[in-house]
Subunit: 493 residues, 2 copies
Amino acid sequence: MPFIDATLAEIDAALKEAQTAFLSVKNFSGKQKGRFLRSIADEIDALGQTLVAKAMEETALPEIRIVSERARTTGHLRMFANLIEEGSWLEARIDTAIPDRVPAPKPDLRKMLIPIGPVVVFGASNFPLAYSTAGGDTASALAAGCPVIIKAHPAHAETSELVAGAIQRAIKKCEMPKGTFQHLHGTAFDVGKALVQHPLTKAVGFTGSFAGGKALFDISNQRREPIPVFAEMSSINPVIVLPETLGLNVAETAKKLVPSITLNVGQFCTDPGLIIGVENEDFEKFIKALAEEIEKIPPGTMLHQGIADNYEKKVKQTLAQDAVHQEGQSDIEPTQAQGKALIASTTAQEFLKNPVLAEEVFGPFSLIVKCKDIAELYSVVNHLRDQLTTTVIADVSELLRHSGLMNIIREKAGRLIINGVPTGVEVCPPMQHGGPFPATTDSRFTSVGTDAIKRFVRPLAFQNFPDSLLPDELKQSNPLGIWRLTNSQWART
Amino acid sequence: MPFIDATLAEIDAALKEAQTAFLSVKNFSGKQKGRFLRSIADEIDALGQTLVAKAMEETALPEIRIVSERARTTGHLRMFANLIEEGSWLEARIDTAIPDRVPAPKPDLRKMLIPIGPVVVFGASNFPLAYSTAGGDTASALAAGCPVIIKAHPAHAETSELVAGAIQRAIKKCEMPKGTFQHLHGTAFDVGKALVQHPLTKAVGFTGSFAGGKALFDISNQRREPIPVFAEMSSINPVIVLPETLGLNVAETAKKLVPSITLNVGQFCTDPGLIIGVENEDFEKFIKALAEEIEKIPPGTMLHQGIADNYEKKVKQTLAQDAVHQEGQSDIEPTQAQGKALIASTTAQEFLKNPVLAEEVFGPFSLIVKCKDIAELYSVVNHLRDQLTTTVIADVSELLRHSGLMNIIREKAGRLIINGVPTGVEVCPPMQHGGPFPATTDSRFTSVGTDAIKRFVRPLAFQNFPDSLLPDELKQSNPLGIWRLTNSQWART
């Protein structure tokens, strides 16, 4: 079913409707908004197999993945419902007045986070449910009290329509203003551009390519009033394999890493695209083991033809560079829109001088960088651009001898993993899914986990307000029983 | 004493030295950094009358103001020392592992805030101590663990040198790396530009004009890696006077407002530059009372000739607009570099159509906007650009009948004040000194109060880390006894 791109008039009408909704939704209680989020989750569940089948059809992702992604999506919605019903996330701070302070009385001052206004969310091609229409960006914006306008991803526009329908039903059931959530289509870049440029838009959520995210960021900064663009863009998620530990676990390490490279045809933003180790006999065995594992992985259908074409192009480009050797791939030839898992290797010397080798190859590909010695490994790590994640495979005693390395990688990623894999991003309060530029446009925020809500709020201070005019969160009696920093002490009574 | 502008080579050397310092300072404990901040405060106090005299000489501010600003500066430093010695500000979040979770085990995940790297701070002309060399930006960046490079404000370069000397002595006493704090001079815009463009700079703090702040913001966004620029830029801090309450307190309200307009020749970013009320007999009396109070204020010497010239120019420009009437000023003529307090009035109709009338006039000036009725007052408030503060003068019963007005002003400022004045920015946890663009470049952060530290940090997640490799803040036993969100429960044990 073809959808028609939203016109400028429709975009303008949508933002005005969103702004109207905002003027009431911003004052809704955590309980009201929580009920709405739970209702969205229930309505998504109620779509049952219809949604699963449509998402499978549009994305070529397997049923097990769609079902687990649906659970992640509804889980995210219910997690934010819990967060806002409880209410302590608002960072309430209270200093009571000191009328007899000299030389001047101290006024009563109270502060909490308030929603910023209409948020535009771009559906992500690689997460048709969890980072699209009712995904993490939408859930966190609605939880904050911000209306959302979705620009559906054209690669799964019908899936997006189904989810949007579920949200519309939740809006009716919970008697939310109709502008709380709106759904637009757009294959042309101009639709996204107009949404970001509209003066009533107050923030943007995006997950996708560096080119796409950076373009939206630049458009925002040229507005009369620049707004935050939270773009999660590009990361090659390096895995550093330290030599001593590797010597003990060659086969096991390869078996752990390959599924992380290849699951769902490698279409995760935390896919490990770079493996860095020290050249020796163990490392050669490890490369061989990786190659053997990769050879067992048949080609898989990618999200859409464009992604498959781009994957093929980027793999070819990488293999065409000097001193790059193919190490392993399946014997089966990919058909149209399929991507074939492949690993290649190069030398640290080459990697250090050729920036093409540090570019993201979105798909089931990983490049192995062979370092002459540990000093060269440090040089390679120092040379890396910033990332969503960095993983180190090593046991504690070996890690302790490399505190310098740990010190370096701390500056280059949003999440550090020891002896694990970067894929499988947990949805929980300590998750940081974000990282310094170019991994994202703003390393201070996360797009996964409860703290994702902080992207769509700002603090507002109330000075000398009578209790009756304060929001419940800041009233003297603490009627909501939330944690607050009162006169520099944390308490909830 | 003339100072020479820093060269590009000196700027590069400073950033490299700062980066070297960062690699150790970032791992310093809250106690180590707290000791350093206290030592800076002590060294500033030890400068005694030398500092006071020099600041008075360079800024023309009176002794009482310099002494209180020094107390504010050392108070800020000691407040941040308390904050980081206690340690709970780091937003530690911990989810412990669930190895037997199905379908996949849950890893151990821990997150906390870490410093982002070297910060460039521009000294502010209107706060030679509290928002300059050892001011709020510097104190919060050092507290976070970020080295600071100051670009001294040329209007008080010698004061800046004295304070920089105090910080250098604290560095020696506390054995901090020498790149922890560096002090550069620059009268040319190119010095600031080069500091913002340097690849090792990770954030910028600025307080000043809209033109200056926006230029730095734009430079940052053209970097290969854009960085946050926290610019506090422009605000006219509207004061809305509701009619019924005013009727009861005409003289008292005028007497409260005029000192806020005129103190220190009106050179505060929270100076009330706009007074909005409903035209009636009481309001005419109020304007007369304001005029009488203003007439008592003699001209005062401004921070520097440029500010005085600009003030004179902007006042003349405002008075030259259609339907603007001068209401009151002193009879005494200002001498060179002096500014004379002045109030003028206009109609709402004129204010709504002439954008010049909404521009900031930095100095002891305020424009009264006369509205035909309360509906027109709402139109004027709706029309305002965003601000640092908005003040409403009204008693509770009148405010309660204007919940719509409160709803509007919530979206247009960082701090709302009832029956007070916007000047006198308290330094405390609930303070929000910031506001939506164009008041600042980022409404999500504050430049005053403990939360100012959040500008210079980002979250980092640690997955599956052995306890011995975790920072103390995240170790299982909580050796620092800080508040942490552990498995979604706040606790400090």
